[in-house]
């Protein structure tokens, strides 16, 4: 353990030197290879222990300690945390490429185009052509994306959904502390601006994965349960995602179908009739969906799940009756909804 912590510190120092120090001017191919080797080592450590909160805590402390001294040594230093370790090679690369002291010979090695690509995840990976391969990959993606953009869920989102499932399965497979998995999902939501919206799409992709194993079914179940508790996320999903996706989700998961219906009804119940606009609208503080759109949601749902229609209409009817059962537009959102649905 001691050795591992020491290695972590050393690599943090290495990253600092790579990005902040003129010492890189002395680097040669061997130094470069060794640096990337250490970065890979940290990535390995990160994946090995990210589920182990005790060890993770120790490592985090070590890193904070190292950060302190590095901050003192390098004015432009940015702290590195445990979560950064999974992208250690990337951090190293960015640091190096932004360092104006990096010898051009080193850059030429990184961007070398002659060596064949080595895709194996072996311990010895040649650092030659590291960047060339990245560029090839990114460019190939751009070239192929017009062809794959036709589906609602693109290849990129599918991959993210698959990774989410993998992570959930790994967390759930550890008997202890199921709430840690919840905590993990919560933390992803708080990822930053637009993170919640993006996450909705990924959740949808994860739930729509068809070729799944038993472990993945459990992950999907957990995800649905968590969604049930997160009304804001559900609402975001229902307003932001394309209808086709929502319908697929409703068809695939009864739990989601029920939740979807509930969201639609909640939206309806929050609506007020606006005289000026001659239409039912949501309160001005939270305008995400129009009455027309709401109707479309219901209609799409009925078309794909015909069995639902009767039940929903009964519910709406009951609500309309409780509102007085008047036949006049503008008095009960339920009545107006019913007539819109039955047009």
């Amino acid at each position: 353990m001691e050795a591992v912590l020491k290695n972590l510190s050393s690599t943090a120092e290495l990253l600092a030197v790579a990005s902040q120090s003129g010492a890189v001017a002395q680097w040669d191919k061997q130094t470069l290879s060794r640096a990337f080797h250490w970065a890979r080592y940290c990535e390995h450590i990160s994946s090995r222990f990210h589920n182990n909160s005790a060890i993770k805590g120790i490592m985090e402390k070590q890193l904070q300690f190292t950060n302190q001294s590095l901050r003192a040594a390098f004015p432009g230093y940015t702290d590195i945390s445990f979560s950064d370790l999974s992208c250690c090679q990337h951090l190293l690369l960015v640091g190096l490429l932004k360092n104006p002291e990096l010898p051009i010979s080193i850059m030429k090695i990184l961007f070398d185009t002659t060596s064949p690509v080595n895709n194996q995840q072996s311990d010895y990976q040649d650092v030659t052509g590291f960047c060339s391969h990245i560029i090839q990959c990114k460019s190939a993606r751009k070239v192929l994306s017009p062809l794959t953009d036709l589906s609602a869920v693109g290849a990129d989102v599918e991959v993210q959904g698959a990774m989410l499932m993998e992570r959930l399965a790994a967390l759930l497979s550890q008997e202890s502390e199921a709430c840690r998995t919840e905590h993990f999902l919560d933390s992803v939501l708080q990822g930053g601006e637009g993170a919640a919206g993006h996450f909705c799409l990924v959740i949808a992709a994860a739930l729509l994965t068809t070729k799944i194993s038993a472990a993945q079914t459990a992950s999907q179940g957990f995800l649905l349960d968590w969604l049930q508790k997160k009304h804001s996320v559900l609402q975001l999903m229902c307003s932001a995602l394309p209808t086709t996706l929502l319908i697929d989700l409703a068809k695939g998961h009864l739990q989601f179908r029920a939740a979807y219906c509930d969201v639609l009804k909640k939206w309806a119940s929050d609506m007020e009739y606006s005289m000026s606009e001659g239409e039912w609208v949501q309160p001005s503080t939270n305008r995400t969906v129009s009455f027309k759109r709401l109707t479309e949601h219901f209609l799409a749902l009925f078309e794909s799940c015909p069995s639902l229609r009767e039940d929903v209409e009964n519910d709406l009817n009951a609500l309309n009756i409780s509102d007085g059962d008047f036949d006049v537009k503008g008095l009960s959102v339920w009545g107006d909804l019913l007539s819109a649905l039955n047009k």
């Binding site: 992208c87 690369l93 990959c137 794959t148 993210q160 989410l164 996450f199």
Partner: protein, 631 residues
Amino acid sequence: MTVRLVCIRMSQLQPQNQLQQTSEPPLNVQELQFWLDKAAAWGQADSPDTRKDTCLHLSRLKDYLQLLLTHMNNMSSTTERMKTLPLLGQFLGRLCWNPYVTADATGRRLLLQCLWGLYSEHPGNALERKANQWIRKVLCQLATEEDDDAAALALMKRMGVSPKEYHLKVLKMMVALLQENIGKSCRSLVDLNQRCSCDNIRATSEACVPLVTCPEAALLIGALLQQPMTCVRAALSQDFLDALSSAYSSQCISLEEQAVVSLWYHNLSSLEDAVLSLLECVLTNTGSTPQELKQQLAQSLLPKACAQHCSIFLVANDIFRSFLKQTEGNESVKYLIQTFSSCFLRELARLQHKTSGSWKALFPQSPQSLLVPLLTRPSEMPREAWKHHLNWLSGSLQTLTEEEEEGDGDGSRSTRGHHKVFEAWFLLIQCAHWVQVAVWLLVTSDPEDCGPLLWLLTFYHHPTNRGHHRASQLVHAKEAWDHLHSLYSVSSCPLPVDRLQSLVTLLSPQPERPSLSPLFILNLLVNFAVFFQQSLSGSAEILQTVVNRSGLVNEAACVLRSLELRLNEDSCLSSDTNRVHLRINALQNTLTHMHAASDPAGNQAHAHINAQNQTAVSSSSTPPGSLQNDK
């Protein structure tokens, strides 16, 4: 079209004195403007039209980048380069953000090399310093900028997935999705009024133009090549096929065997290229052993491809035919064709296409009556029937040649007659297993039975009866056989000098008189040495003496090697074979010992033969015992 290609390639086989470019084409600044405008247009909008245009121009753009690079290397400083080509920076900058250029291996390489060309190790002025900074910045952005994927990468970081890993996974997912789409042919559509999605195939193949060297796209490319192609709209883009073909022939990529076969099937020029490359390679590399040649042919995948698709075989055969005609029966070409045919027929048998009906499709130009008799292998026939079979073959061919000669008088028929005889001879070369049996049979024949066999072999070596020399050639052939027969029958030493001398004379052709191919006689000699019932020492002495005096030591060694190879390949484990092996080894040793002390007087004959035949590897003889397993 094919014959023209053959002519072009033939001229290229000539010693390389011409075709060397002494200077590069001059740099045209307007051309740079043209390409800059193109690059700008491509970068502006991302529509199907711009994408198509990019793929269409990609190959020429790469050529232009190479030209630019050459010119840049001729200049001494960045300042000079920027002065001569002021638009260069802009141009390269735009190309950096064109994924078609950066995805393609050559495009990326050339682009990066151009960028390095603008970098100054020791910048001398502000311009050069600025250029250096710009280059570092662009490269950093290319490798690490993540604007498009910011949200995704942030999420992936929480999952413990690095950016590089993520990009790779997404690419693989895209390839898998596209592969799935290709699998769905339009035959599976339920509603025939529905438009099939086969246009995707064309668009996908076009998008793959810059990806032919991308390892992750290999499965997709393989799927594109091997899809059933039943729909009219499912045609592959020509640019794609060309790019694939050139990448494959310059060995930048390796394709799965079946993908290569499909490529040749779809793209005639790539097939022709492959056949001509093979010919070029084999015929310029005359030092290879028979074993090496066989390996080379197998590695080329052509025999396998020919066995799978009749159309591929017809094209390849056509090229061989042209070569044979052009080189006027060059021995190396003959040997190559023989070996190729034997590989091809073996592959065909493996695919179980044994019905005689298919022979006609594969050999439409050959005389139909000869097809089955020649293509049936000796191992498929009882040994006792061989002699009769060969007599029949000899007779049929004789009739054919006589018809041709009769037709010579009547102008209209003669070309057809010539054609028939040529095709018969071409087929005979391809079925040289019978020629080998004929040589073997001659060793054990009686004098009265030699006639047809000698005729067959004379025809094999001299298909045309130019100047009506065949009669005298047949006489010489009989003479040679007589000499050999009596030399080997005599068990006492010293050897009859007159016989020896006559044989040597026959083997050393004089330019003035029409001669029998020395290789014919040499082959006969070697077969006598190996198979005639004589003591090893006796046989060895005869062989040694004759070969030494006529200066054909190397050639004889070659014939022995071919014989050994045949024996190794088609070995049946009878003791007979082992004895023959030992005998061949012993004879080879004799020859090797002689090699050091070769007779300088015999070099004249040696040189003459080389001039005639370029390589001395002739058709080899096989002992019949080994042909039993010849499948």
